[in-house]
């Protein structure tokens, strides 16, 4: 990714950054094949945004960004927003994406995500993400449903050593110092 950074301070340090070798396809700086997304508080202060410029390695048709990559970006920013706001890992349950226009390789975009304040009856969360062009027009629009991972579920699904788990737990518990708004 070629950064076209927002004016507001950042980027935000994600809890995963305490893990020396995390390989998230979306947001790890260590994954050479990944998107290496970085996130800023959105200009209205309510959500999260990521500057985007896709290269040819993200191509579908010649010059066109692969739609699966666009959906991945939307999922990634919504998931990280939930982690930052709640201090809890969330798994994607449903991801719905509307592609309004093709995205062009080498063109600057930004993705902005928001999360609905109140969780659903089962604790699930609804979030939205829009990819906008330089003129501010929406080129892709996504919504997702996310389920918070219980401690047991997290332990079962995340391949972490006990030392890394402790590091991550500590980082999650202080996520509110970075940008969370719901932590007491």
């Amino acid at each position: 990714m070629i950064p076209n950074e927002p004016a507001q301070p950042g980027p935000i340090s994600l809890p995963w950054h305490v893990l020396p070798d995390y390989q998230c396809f979306g947001c790890s700086p260590h994954n050479a094949a990944g998107l290496r997304l970085r996130f800023w508080e959105s200009t209205d202060g309510d959500g999260l945004e990521a500057p985007l410029t896709f290269g040819r390695q993200h191509e579908s048709y010649p010059g066109v960004v692969h739609g699966g990559i666009v959906a991945t970006v939307c999922d990634e920013i919504m998931g990280n927003l939930l982690v930052l706001r709640t201090g809890v890992t969330h798994f994607t349950v449903t991801l719905r994406t509307r592609f309004l226009t093709p995205l062009a390789v080498g063109t600057a975009y930004r993705c902005v995500a928001t999360v609905r304040p109140e969780p659903g009856a089962a604790g699930q969360r609804q979030a939205t993400a829009d990819v906008l062009d330089a003129a501010g027009d929406t080129v892709a629009s996504a919504s997702g449903t996310y389920q918070p991972a219980s401690a047991d579920s997290s332990r079962q699904h995340l391949a972490l050593s006990e030392a890394d788990r402790q590091l991550l737990d500590d980082a999650m518990s202080t996520a509110d110092q970075v940008s969370g708004r719901e932590r007491g």
């Binding site: 509307r98 309004l100 226009t101 939205t128 027009d137 929406t138 629009s141 919504s143």
Partner: protein, 87 residues
Amino acid sequence: MTSRQEIVEHVREIAAEETGLPVEELTPDLDLRNVESVDSVKVLRVVARIERDYDIEVSDEQVFAFTTVSDVADAVLAALRTADPAP
């Protein structure tokens, strides 16, 4: 339950913002296929905003069949009734 008239007015406002047309021109039964400044992308943008505003999902079959503001409003109303059926 939101009334059909309220939905029509909201769709007209969104459509005016997305197409740049004055809201007065966007009468409920105006055939959008005959309006030069309206294309399928703008209709999709209207639908995407409407889905978010009303927390509904409009099927792709409906989206590509929309020709008027009234069509969009009827789809919203049907989706709202499905989500929250009358007692």
